[in-house]
Symmetry: D2
């Protein structure tokens, strides 16, 4: 921790800061700059709150220098983490693809969609069974029945599946049906859930919260990893900004930033980020060109009749066209798509 | 729903929109303006997604006209909801006060704090037993032991208590100890939790999510009310903006806005909103002057040694001074503090 | 400047940073913490860009420790700056009031408004002659004719006047008519204009830009002060956030924050901040309770027929009621309104 | 305009709205929905302010249906606008490239940079002569001397030039030296400047304001076009959000959105958007893959010694590599780079 003093701080102020630091377990090292004095607090005291020092007389600003995430940090691991499911790899030079409808609606709907997607080489199927909906009066998903359909359809087409878990109480059920567990944006800081996911041995897609910073996002990954589960895939899905024309603002700079801060793979969800089908295609291509480790895209066999988020779902033929484009772009940036 | 056509939309485009609306169960009424045509979709179809219409050729914009919250809406109830706990009232002309430390640390800490607060006429004690912390390595609260201490100390001083519930699985435990359940900002859209809280007969403080709109906030209240529990107190605690000097940006305009949209009481948490003790006092006074229905303020018997959020906790003597100021301000704006 | 190294930075990385710092004119002092090494760059080199160091191998983060504003900083001046115009004082223990219509529309409109306002003890009249409008097709103000009317009406009622200047080229004209020059939010970083305002001897109200940080705002004040004009009044008028229900989000925490960072007075414009009349009153009272140094409020003799921003203008009787309330609140927080 | 009534609005409320609309020049058409009544205001009254109606009793919300930009709107012109300078085209199927240092520092610096860039086929050189700097104490640019150097170096290498104009008073000077005028983000709503730029016959790059919506941006373009100058190139350069790790948040969704709303070309400035060299390359590739009409990139012959923004400037060899990559990506999305 660094305590930066005001330019008019007195010697007494500085001494008080040093003493207070020492009372909290730090060693205080005082450095006199031309403009101001900086007190370097040596030591790692997890519980120390920088704001306690900000309130002392003569203090201008306090800066924390050690990041709180350790296992998720780039410095903790030389090589990129690669998560592999059903032959699809995410991370390092590999870009994995996941596709499927927003919600599981029926066996036929999902089977038709999966049939078309498997012709475009999709090996991991997405589909929601429990839907977090802003309104209590909206369709909330088929529940366990949805997971059963998902599993059965996927087995039919030799696919793996991913679906969103909403609550600790659903964990056993999800373990019976799902290959990759998704944590939605609204649950990124549901810490009890994250702790439980740390105890399982299955990959987790951790979506970025609607207004989460990169650091908070990595801290949530740390919750999972601290429990022993290293198979975390980060997923950017748009952040909330003042601009309301698109559903959210897709923050593609997250790709190079996360790659610098962490060894974990980062994938993009352009469907939730933009909320409209005609924006999904350009943003998917852009994600690939920026070097992402994967995409998760909503595709529906009949978007006009979808029970939720049809407007942001691609038609299967659109997905196929997009697949062909991104297959061409990936090698230009040194990535490989199966 | 209103579908607004582009100024160059053709008659065919308009007819296609009308037909599509009818296929979804609406009656379509077409109105020719000078600049453009508007199609008014008559009917209430909960599942209709406005974006499906935005994608049709010739459509400029689609506007939903019926709000999705009904029970929480001002129009559903003539009189302001008043929630009363231990003689303290929130809503209508009453302003209730809640105070206490961020976290329950020990019996002595809490008892000393409660003793001092009861001298300032505090009748509802706050204190966290389960703490949602960004870092997995930070103090996570005393758990059930904390709730026991909270209950016991409060009984000692004839106080009621409020504490934050983090998960459905904790509900039975909370019902044994706590008079008002708090839903934290990170859980505002933990819909499974909200549904369960709808089934109990105890007041709930629903904090606004870090980047939740007024409408989303009221929709979350609706989840609780739809289950039959009408004792919902909304709590503004700062939103996330580009300005990082304060922990969050306290949005005091929420007070008059919520009062127009809803009959539910709205209280302010200036401690989490600003994150620093010396900002808590002016913002508390400002909240009262803006007509809020209550305050929830962090006070600690010894903030310099607090295990969490000490920097934003008032000293008991500061709370007492503040109490005297707001007692004077309240009647100027037609409110009453006990 | 403080250069914080990664925990796995090599001795070579650290030496390279030290050498690079020295090549830029700094003295480099290396401090070994438990978690990581910090290099303290001693010296004040205005042109040094912290990002140049962020790009060096092994560097985690670079922190600037000297603020760039000096004259505006609290540490540069012990006492609060008080700006006085026509007997009205802004700053220290004084709270000044400014009122008037959004735009000058005609002699009669302004004279009637001023007549009513003078009965509520208003001594400084506001009124726009050049209006910055988002649309090129909207009313752009009466121009110099508007300034003439403003001057003449104010003289009639023994008032001072303030109006918004949009461009350097208007400066001579404004000097002929106006007592306090206003810089609008859109011009907060019109640096050429700020430099010119530094050369005059007349108070300037500097509105906060729509997404300006406190530091950028104070830096803009510094532009004016660096030219020799110390009579700067800062004006918070709402910032842009994701919440669109109100026109902007009024950031009242700016009051205690600015008072800590600077000696300059800070006033609030609740009319532009909220955009709706029924929000102006509670936010005005809240501003006073938070300890602001003044208010600038839109009042119109006939808001329903106003040529611009009528919806956010108070009726004169509303202003009078509000005036009586804030006269009661001010002394509770140690402030004085004439 | 559409006035949406509350569900409990009385017949009297509705009549009052209709009468008020008529008093403002509209025809009022009342449509009874199942949930609520909508009053459609027929007519185009530029001065009508929707908020005036929001304040009437019984009104829930008021929606403006006609956009205020007309000339910039997609519906006003069938074909994409193509701006051509020195053989480089922006718009439709063409993607143009602009490169050069942040600031003109000296003849040698610029000439060396231009020499290297011309080997990478750059035909339009950028370089700032007047620099808008947050701090009054930072380097403000070489002024007219900088423009002279820019012109002379460009002529040397058969290049066209673009530079940022800060103020109306500089217009004549810029017309002597510069082929494309740039309006910076801070000046996007400097309406007097925009009006003057409407009178010239030279292309203008209009950067998006730091927190400008798409609509405000297009309205600013409209100011220029309303004066008769149709050669407007829109430039996205990052918006301000809560995430501070990158300088700004690059909003690449602006590309498909603007292409739907307008016929004007849109280019991307990845240098200012991200603020760090290692993010510029992936974001440039992403922009091309999303279908942008051009890029403006900072390149410096010796970034480590740059007088401003060196950290975000590419080395010439990096630009060359990037150029080769984007040449491959462009045709995949149907675009052509010379």
């Amino acid at each position: 921790m660094l305590v930066i003093m005001n330019s008019n701080a007195t010697e007494k102020d500085i001494q008080r800061v040093a003493l207070f630091l020492e009372s909290k377990g730090f060693e205080a090292r005082i450095s006199h700059g031309e403009a101001r004095v900086v007190v370097h607090a040596i030591g790692i005291i997890e519980e120390a709150d920088q704001r306690d020092f900000e309130l002392l007389t003569g203090v201008c600003e306090v800066i924390r220098v050690s990041t709180s995430y350790k296992l998720a940090a780039r410095v903790s691991q030389g090589k990129d983490t690669v998560v592999e499911v059903n032959g699809v790899k995410f991370g390092d030079k590999y870009t994995g693809l996941i596709a499927g409808p927003c919600a599981v609606e029926s066996y036929n709907q999902l089977d038709e969609t999966a049939q078309e997607l498997s012709e475009s080489n999709v090996k991991i199927l997405r589909g929601g069974a429990f839907k977090p909906r802003t309104s209590p009066y909206a369709f909330q998903g088929l529940g366990e029945e949805g997971l059963k359909i998902l599993r059965s359809v996927a087995d039919n087409h030799n696919m793996a599946v991913t679906s969103e878990i909403m609550d600790i109480s659903q964990l056993d059920m999800f373990m019976r049906y799902v290959d990759i567990l998704q944590v939605g944006a609204r649950n990124m800081q549901n810490f009890n859930l994250l702790k439980e996911l740390g105890k399982i041995h299955r990959p987790v897609i951790l979506k970025r919260g609607l207004s989460a910073t990169y650091e908070e996002w990595l801290m949530s990954a740390e919750y999972i990893m601290a429990g022993g589960n290293n198979q975390v895939i980060l997923c950017e899905r748009g952040i909330r900004t003042y601009e309301k024309f698109t559903r959210n603002t897709l923050d593609l700079s997250a790709i190079p930033v996360i790659k610098k801060l962490s060894h974990l793979p980062i994938i993009i969800d352009p469907s939730h980020a933009t909320g409209l089908r005609d924006k999904v295609e350009p943003m998917s291509r852009a994600s690939i060109a920026a070097g992402c480790d994967g995409l998760i895209i909503e595709v529906h066999n009949n978007p006009d009749c979808a029970m939720c988020d049809g407007a942001q779902s691609l038609y299967p033929w659109q997905y196929d066209l997009l697949y062909k484009q991104i297959k061409q772009i990936a090698p230009i940036v040194g990535k490989e798509i199966i």
